[in-house]
């Protein structure tokens, strides 16, 4: 669709990906409609690159991350890893792919089995993929824990004995155990305090440099995303509405939604308080998205055409894409 796949050589690439969930209701579970969580997304992540994915709740960013890993099956579209479609893979091949593509979850409480010791949690990938066992496995796990900043004493303890930040370190150790090439980081620091958040962001950056990892970094906090990403994609109701290099995105945002997101971030400067652009209303439900541009009911610059036709993601300057009629016409804003 867009220039997202114009440049080849992406490690991971999705093409016009859609993930729709059936919405059923009533005694007979009749089909009442479709929740279009991801609705035509094309995006690539280069080797060693971090692409940020930002948006509010219900925009489909988490579903997109999980569909890329085939934790959810896409409705239509294609997913490529190293140039090869991963959709036909199953069984052993799919399991082999899991060594290369991993995920770190938001909730370090819910994503670790409370009845397993840290040694078992972090060692599980070695067991599943029959990489190492016994003493050798324990040695590898100890090394991993050390790498993410945990003491060897952690080995025989249980998740509840750790703080939120330490639990996230355990989740990271598990994700990097089999030396993956690509990791979906799904809100990895959202539930952490700022001081701990900074520790984890630094750790993720160090690991990326050391192992040449690629990240798809999903978050609702634009500050965090802009900090860690080279490119940032903004999602709204299942679509990417803007995609740009980080610096360009916050210095010259084009989509009215991106501008509103940036304006909503409180400035850390009590001296220069000023009235800001505010979006009216709430994020609409993806079950019955508005026709035309999905953003038009909240948009401050919407035109009659926006209610009828959906704008396509269009490249307005090298690497900067936006899906907005008004922004494409006058990219200076």
């Amino acid at each position: 669709m867009s220039g997202a796949n114009a440049a080849n050589g992406y490690l991971v690439e999705v093409r016009d990906l859609r993930k729709h969930f059936p919405v059923r209701a009533g005694v007979f579970s009749r089909l009442r409609g479709w929740l279009r969580a991801v609705d035509g997304v094309s995006l690539g992540v280069g080797a060693g690159e971090t692409v940020g994915l930002v948006g509010e709740s219900g925009c489909g960013k988490t579903t997109l991350g999980r569909t890329i890993l085939r934790l959810l099956e896409p409705t239509t579209g294609d997913i490529l890893f190293a140039g090869r479609s991963i959709l036909p893979l199953h069984g052993t091949e799919l399991r082999a792919l899991r060594r290369d593509m991993q995920i770190i979850f938001q909730d370090p409480y819910g994503s670790l089995n409370p009845r397993m010791t840290v040694a078992r949690i972090v060692g599980e990938p070695f067991a599943v993929h029959r990489v190492a066992r016994g003493r050798e496995r324990r040695r590898l796990v100890t090394q991993l824990l050390e790498r993410v900043g945990l003491e060897p004493e952690a080995l025989d303890r249980y998740p509840h004995e750790f703080s939120g930040g330490q639990r996230q370190r355990i989740g990271i150790a598990r994700a990097i155990a089999l030396a993956p090439k690509f990791i979906v980081c799904d809100e990895p620091v959202s539930s952490l305090d700022v001081s701990i958040q900074a520790q984890i962001l630094n750790l993720l950056e160090d690991l990326q440099e050391e192992f040449g990892l690629s990240y798809l970094f999903i978050a609702h906090d634009l500050r965090v995303v802009a900090h860690i990403s080279q490119r940032v994609a903004v999602m709204y109701l299942g679509r990417i509405v803007e995609l740009a290099p980080r610096r360009e995105l916050y210095q010259s945002p084009l989509h009215p939604y991106t501008r509103a997101l940036l304006a909503a971030i409180p400035t850390i400067d009590p001296v220069s308080r000023r009235p800001k652009l505010r979006l009216p209303g709430d994020v609409p439900s993806p079950v019955n998205p508005p026709p035309g541009c999905p953003f038009h009911p909240r948009c401050p610059v919407a035109e009659p055409a926006c209610q009828e036709t959906e704008p396509k993601l269009t490249e307005v300057s090298p690497g900067h894409f936006v899906a907005c009629f008004v922004a494409v016409r006058s990219p200076e804003g």
Binding site: G165, N202, A260, I265, R278, D282
Partner: protein
């Protein structure tokens, strides 16, 4: 230890405009593992018509402070061990439960983080807003209904007549928080305590709610105690700020002063761990380690094991620093206080925001 009142904010209380004055508050929880000193000697003042931000990370004691003011600490295991909470000159700690009920929801109201869990799912929005009116004021049901619709309009809830008959699950997160605020405002409180009012909301909706709180405060002239972990929220909405760490305040002052020149290494650390939208992608200066457990605070300065300024200095390990004024109080400004032996050095540290 309990009962001593020597620290800055407690002492610097000329009264007059102090609506709420918390003095050396200690709220403890008795657990199997010992006494958790959740709030351990906190003193601050909220002036009339002003907003004080109480900021800190999880487990620092900021929410327990709020619950103590409203006398909502679950007991047992919790108890207010010592200290005074003066509200319009009356000590809330000594009030009977009946007297406290006349204050709570009436003179002091609260907005919580989770609008979903604080609204009763089986009652309509309207009946929950009217409840406070019917309880605290002599009004008829019809009058309460009319006033409720007016309140819902006041918090910019669209179609207030219809929303009054809606149940909480029929409202979005932002609308629920607006309804909560309408409930809190029902009796025109003098003090509104807002505990992380925007944390559970999407960014664009959170911004709307903060704007609303500012607007209502200006219109109603109430005081606000805003509890948050977000330095951005503090910068945008407060007049004064108190930074809490490990059960007590480590720094307080006017918001511009504290953001221009933080005087405690913990505050500096919080600023430095914030990712910014700046042009350069610099490495974040994280605060090492974790928040200590209220069962076992470190000896000496409670922040010293994580402090970049302490670097193993004996005084930090052995002697608990006083909460002292560094910039002499002048005029209407609240004094700028810091609980650091080396606050003068902290003042020299360059902080980029």
């Amino acid at each position: 230890m309990a009962g001593e009142r020597q620290t800055g904010a407690g002492r610097a209380a000329p009264g007059g405009d102090g609506l709420l004055q918390v003095e050396e508050l200690r709220t403890y929880f008795d657990t199997d593992e010992g006494t958790a000193r959740a709030v351990d000697g906190v003193s601050f003042r909220v002036s009339r018509g002003r907003t004080l931000g109480l900021v800190g990370e999880s487990g620092c004691g900021k929410s327990v402070t709020a619950l103590s003011i409203l006398r909502l600490v679950p007991s047992p295991p919790g108890r207010i061990a010592s200290g005074r909470i003066l509200f319009e000159g009356r000590d809330l700690v000594t009030l009977s439960n009946e007297e406290m009920r006349q204050v709570r929801g009436n003179r002091i109201a609260m907005v919580f983080q989770e609008p979903m869990t604080s609204l009763n799912p089986v009652f309509t929005i309207g009946s929950q807003v009217s409840e406070a009116l019917l309880f605290h004021r002599k009004v008829t049901k019809a009058e309460a209904r009319a006033e409720t619709v007016e309140l819902l309009r006041r918090v910019h809830l669209p179609a207030p007549e219809e929303r009054a008959d809606a149940y909480p699950h029929q409202l979005s997160g932002g609308m629920k928080q607006r309804a909560m605020i309408a409930m809190a405002l029902a009796c025109r409180p003098d003090l509104l305590i807002a505990d992380e009012p925007t944390t559970a909301l999407d960014v664009t909706v959170a911004a709307q709610i903060l704007d609303l709180l500012k607007e209502l405060q200006a219109d109603f002239g109430m005081s606000v105690l805003l509890i948050t972990h977000d330095m951005g929220v503090v910068a945008e909405t407060t007049d004064e700020v108190a930074v809490m760490y490990a059960g007590h305040l480590v720094e307080s002052g006017s918001t511009p002063a504290l953001f221009t020149r933080p005087l405690h290494p913990y505050t500096i650390g919080l600023f430095r761990s914030l990712p910014t939208l700046g042009a350069e992608q610099r490495r974040l200066a994280a605060i090492p380690g974790t928040v200590p457990s209220p069962l076992r605070f470190p000896a000496g300065c409670r922040f010293h094991p994580r402090c970049f300024l302490s670097r193993g200095r004996g005084r930090c390990r052995e002697e608990e620093p006083e909460f002292r004024a560094l910039v002499p109080p002048g005029g209407a400004e609240p004094p700028h206080l810091s609980r650091c032996h080396f606050a003068e050095e902290a003042a020299e540290v360059e902080v980029e925001l």
